[in-house]
Symmetry: D2
Subunit: 344 residues, 4 copies
Amino acid sequence: MKVGIIGATGYGGLELIRFLHHHPEVKNIELFTSSDEGAIFSSKFGHLVTIHDTPLQKITIDSLAGLDVLFTSTPSGVTSSLLPPLVGVGPKLIDLSGDYRLKDVGVFEKWYNKQPAPKHIVEQSVYGLTEWNEKNIQSSHFIANPGCYPTAVLLSILPLIKAGLIDPHYLVIDAKSGVSGAGNKLSQTTHYSETNENFSIYKVNEHQHIPEIEQAIELFANVKTKITFNTHLVPMTRGILATTYAPVTEGVSNEQLTECLMETYKEHPFVRIVTSVSLMGTNRVKGSNYCDIFVKVDERTNRATIVSVIDNLVKGAAGQAIQNMNVQFSLPQTLGLDVIPLFI
Amino acid sequence: MKVGIIGATGYGGLELIRFLHHHPEVKNIELFTSSDEGAIFSSKFGHLVTIHDTPLQKITIDSLAGLDVLFTSTPSGVTSSLLPPLVGVGPKLIDLSGDYRLKDVGVFEKWYNKQPAPKHIVEQSVYGLTEWNEKNIQSSHFIANPGCYPTAVLLSILPLIKAGLIDPHYLVIDAKSGVSGAGNKLSQTTHYSETNENFSIYKVNEHQHIPEIEQAIELFANVKTKITFNTHLVPMTRGILATTYAPVTEGVSNEQLTECLMETYKEHPFVRIVTSVSLMGTNRVKGSNYCDIFVKVDERTNRATIVSVIDNLVKGAAGQAIQNMNVQFSLPQTLGLDVIPLFI
Amino acid sequence: MKVGIIGATGYGGLELIRFLHHHPEVKNIELFTSSDEGAIFSSKFGHLVTIHDTPLQKITIDSLAGLDVLFTSTPSGVTSSLLPPLVGVGPKLIDLSGDYRLKDVGVFEKWYNKQPAPKHIVEQSVYGLTEWNEKNIQSSHFIANPGCYPTAVLLSILPLIKAGLIDPHYLVIDAKSGVSGAGNKLSQTTHYSETNENFSIYKVNEHQHIPEIEQAIELFANVKTKITFNTHLVPMTRGILATTYAPVTEGVSNEQLTECLMETYKEHPFVRIVTSVSLMGTNRVKGSNYCDIFVKVDERTNRATIVSVIDNLVKGAAGQAIQNMNVQFSLPQTLGLDVIPLFI
Amino acid sequence: MKVGIIGATGYGGLELIRFLHHHPEVKNIELFTSSDEGAIFSSKFGHLVTIHDTPLQKITIDSLAGLDVLFTSTPSGVTSSLLPPLVGVGPKLIDLSGDYRLKDVGVFEKWYNKQPAPKHIVEQSVYGLTEWNEKNIQSSHFIANPGCYPTAVLLSILPLIKAGLIDPHYLVIDAKSGVSGAGNKLSQTTHYSETNENFSIYKVNEHQHIPEIEQAIELFANVKTKITFNTHLVPMTRGILATTYAPVTEGVSNEQLTECLMETYKEHPFVRIVTSVSLMGTNRVKGSNYCDIFVKVDERTNRATIVSVIDNLVKGAAGQAIQNMNVQFSLPQTLGLDVIPLFI
C-alpha cells in the first residue's frame, strides 16, 4: 500500500509515521506539505534521522491521486476545503481533524466558529469510532476520525447507555488531558514554565467535543441528551483520563455494569475492562492503542463512576485512524498497532 | 510566642516551619519527635541548613507544657491517643490530622478504619475552616484543622448552598491533587517513575474526606446531603483543583453566583473570586495561603461548574493552621502568611 | 523607598515583585511598559489578583526621575539604549540584563551579536556579584547584575582559584538549568510537549556567559584563563546546578578546599557550604536567595568536583538584584529576602 | 525460540517483555521468580492486562534448562551466585546486572562492595557492547550486558580514542540520567515529591561504572587511563545524556572527529551521528534502541565536547540485551528492535 500524510509535522502526523513505518502492508509513506516543499523531514525531527530522510512533497491532485489512502492530520478548518475534490474519486480518506465529524453543519459552525465543509460532502463521511461503526467504516471511502475526548468517553459509556443501565439524562463528564492534545502550536498555555506544575481547567462548558459526543450517543445508543462536559490540562505530555458520573438504573448492580462492558468488548482487542482501580492510569496505555475502562457504583448515592484512559495521540488520533484503515482494507484491526504500552 | 511542632519531618510540618520562621509574633520553634531525639533537623533537610540546625526534642508532657501553641501534623491515628492529656490543660492545640474532625466517632471508625479518639475529647475540638468558623476558633483551645480537599471544596460551594442558589442534593465533586498530598511515606504509587507522566484516580467513592465535607455542609449551610466525591492524582508536587457540578436553582444567573461568592468573601483576604477562567490554575496559588474560586453556569443544562484551587500544603494544611493560630491569639489573619504565590 | 520595574512581565520581573512586595523599606512598586500602558497587571497574571491590580505606566524620563531605584529586567539589547540618559542623574539603577556586564564592548558585540552600550556608560557600571564586590556596589549608582550561570559558577570557584588551591587553566564547567532561564518568550525548545521528559544540551561552547565568567575570574582572582563551559536544559522550571572540574594543586586536601569555602563565606548569610552531597539539590534552594556549595577531591585523578546550586530566578536574578539594592542603601543584605527554600 | 526472564518485575525486565513480545523469532516468554511463584504477572502491571496474564514460575534448574536463552535482570549481587551452575550447560545467558562485567573480581569487590562471582566463571563471560564486540558475542554463551552509563559514554568516545584524535588521559565525563535508572526499589531519592523539580548529583567520583568504562577503554582502544566521571539525577523517567570533555590532538579538526564517528558506525543501524546540536536530546531516542552522538571542538580551548544520548532502559539495558541475543543467534541485529523513538 502507498500511504500519504498531510500534516505530518503535527503530533498526530508524527504518530502516524511511528506506526505506519512498521505496518506490514504499507510500502511507501509520502509526506505532503503546503509550505515546506522539498524540506528533509528529519532535519526538523531528530528522532527520524536515518529513518525518514525523504523530502516533503507539494500537495497536488496528481500527487495524491496515486495513493491508496490519505491521512489528513491538520487543524480544524483546513480539510473542509482541501478534501472535497478528492472524495470518492481519489484514495481512501481518513481525516483526523474535526471538519467532518458533525453531520449538522450549523452545529459545526456554532461550536468551531469556522466555515463548515459542504453539506453533501460531510454526509458522505463515516464516523470512525471503530468498535461501534465497523461495518460502515469497512464500506466507506471517507472516514471522519473521532476526537480524542469523545473516543475515551464514548467507549466507556455507550454500552451502559445502550443497555439502559445508567440514566443518560444526567451525565457529568470530567475529562483530563495531557498537553500534547494542544498540538505543537506555540502558546502561553503550553509554554513549559507556565504549564509545568500547574493543573488547570479550560473551555468551561464550551468544548467543541460536546456536540460530537451528543451526536454519537444518539447515533449509537439512540438517545437524545445534553451532557455536562469539562476539560482539564494535566502537566504531562500524553494521556487522557475521563471520569463520567451517572445515576444507575434502579436495581442495577456494579457487576451488571462490568459484565455489560466485558460482553460488549469481548471481541475487541483494544478495549480492556479493568476490575481493580489500582491498575488504572494513563501510563498503563501510554504509547499504545488500548482503551482501559473501569466502573464502580457508589451505593450511598446510587451513582456510577465510569473511568476510561487512552493515549490521546494513539487511540485518540493516529492509532484509531490506522485501525480504521485496517478495517477499510479488510485487514486485521491490530496490524501495525500491536504494541505494548510503555508503562514508564 | 513559643511554638511546638510534632510531626515536623512531614510535608505539613516542613511548611509550618517555613511560615512560622517569618511570623513576627513567634520567638521559638521547637520540634518534637517520638523516635529521633537529639537528631539535628537540618542534617536530614538540606534546605534548612543554617536556618534550623537545632536538635529534635523528646515528647514529654513537661516539654510540651511550656508551649503557647502546639501543632500536631501526624498521620491519622496518632493524636487520638497523644492529645487527650493536653486538651484544656496545656498549650493551645492545632491538630492537622483527621483524628478530631468528625464529631461522630462511629463515622470516623467506619471511614478511617482506626480507633477513634474519646468522644468527650472530640466534642471539645472546633473545626478550623477559618473563613466559616472564626468566632468559635477564637474562643477555642483545640482546633481540628480541615483536610486539604474539604478546604478547597467547602470554600467554593458553601456560599452557594447557604444562599439556596444551587441544589445541594446532586453535588458531583471531581477533585485532583498533586502528589505531596500523599506525604513523605514511600509507596509504589508515589515512586517517581510510576507517578511521573501518569494521571490516575484513587479511592473511588471511598475517600475519608467525604463525611468531613458532608458534616461541614450540615454545620455551616444547615443541609443534610450525600455527595459524590472522587479524587485523582496529578503528576505535580503541589496543588489541588476541585471541580464541582450542581444544578442551578430555577432562574438564578451566573452573575448571582459570582456576586454571592464575592459578597461572602469580601472581608476575607485569602479567598479570591476570579472572573476569567484563564486566570485559574494551581500555579496561581502555589506556595501561598490563597484559595481562588471561579463559577460558570452552563445554559444548555442549567448546571453550574464551580472551580477552586489551593496549595494543598498551605491553605490545605499548614497555612490554614497558622491562620487559625492567628485567630486564636487575636492577631491579624495574614500575619506570617502574607506571601505572594510563586506562579512559576 | 519608591521602586520602579521595567520588564515586570518577564520571570525576573515577577520575582522582583514577589520579594519587593514584602520588603520593609519599599513603599511603592511602580511597573513600567513600552507597549501595554494602562493595562491592569493582574489581568494577565492571576497569581497577583488583589495583590497588584494597578495599571502599567508609560516609560518617560519624568516618570522614572522620581524613583529611588529602578530595576530593568529586559532582554539583552534593550537597556543599552534605554539607560544611558538616566545614569548618574536619575534613580539608582540595577540592570538584570547582560548589556552592561562585559567591560569590553567588542567582546559584548562578539558574544551577544548586538550593538553594545556606549563604552563610557558601560565603564560606570559595577558588576553586582554581591559577596565579591560589596564595597563597589555600596558606592555605585549603577549595577550590572550578574547572569544566572556566572553567579552559580563564580561563587563556587572564586575562593579556590584566589587561594591557589585549584588550577584555573583547566576548568571544565558543566552547567544545567531549569527552563525558566529561557524566559517567557515562546519557542519550540520551551514548548511543553517537547521540553518535558527531555534533557538536552544547547549553545555548545558558545554561551554568552563564558566571557562574563572569564572577566570575573580576572577581576576577583586576578587570573587570565579560558574556560570550557557548556549549558544543558533540565525538564523543570527553576534551578541551576553547576558542576566544575579542576585539577587540585599538589598536596592540597579535600578539607582545605572545604575550609577555604567556609572561611570565605562565614559572614555571608546566603552562601552555604554543604558537607554531605545527599543534602545538595536544586530543590534545597528553590524559591530562595541561597547558593549551596559542595566540593570533593577524587584521589584517583587528583581533580576536584565543585558543585553549586541556586534558584536561577532568585540568587541568579531578582534576589541578588534586591540584595544589591540593600547594599546600595546600606540596609541589611537579607532585608526582604529572608525566605526559606520551598524544598518540595 | 523459548526465552526466560529472571527479574521481570524490574524496569529492565518489563522492557525485555515489551520488545520480546514482538520479536518474530520468539515463541514463548517465561517469567521466573524467587518469591512470587504462581502470581499472575498482569495483576501487578496493568499495562500487560490481556497481553501477559500467565503466572510467574519458580526458578529451578529444570525449568531453566529447557530455555534457548535466559535474561537475568536483577540487582547486583544476585546472579553472581545464581548463574554459575548454568554457565555452558544450560541456555545462552545474558546478564543485565553488573556481576560479570568487571574481569578483575577484586575491582568488583571494591566498587560494588559485594561478594564477586567465581573468577573462572567471570572469565567465561563476554562484554556485550554490541557494536564493539560482535564477533566474541556471536560465539559466546554468556554475555555480560553493559551498564547504561558505560554504553552511552563508550559508544561516543571509543572511536576518537582509538583513532588518537583526543587525549584519553584527561577525560572529564559529566553524565545525567532519568530516574528509571534507579529501578523500582522505593527510596527517598526517588520519592516523587522530592525528585520532581529537583536536579541533583550523586555518588561523586564513586560510581561503580567508572572501572567498567576504564576496562572497556583498555579492551577496545588499548589505552590505560583514569577517568573523571560523575552522575546526576534528572527529573524525568527515561534517558541518559553524557557530556564528555577531552583535549583534541594537535591539528585535528571538528570535521575529522565527526568523520571518524560516521566511518566507525556506518554499518551500525542503532548509532546515529548527529551534525546539528538542535537535533540532540534524550527524547529523540526515547523508547528506542538508538544512540545519537554529537561532537564539537571549542577552538578557544582546543577541547572537544562529545555528547551522546540513549534510552537507559533500551540501548542501556533491555534493547542492547536483545541486540546481543540476535547476534548470538546470527539474526539481524534489528530484529524486534526496529522501533521509532517516541519523541514526545
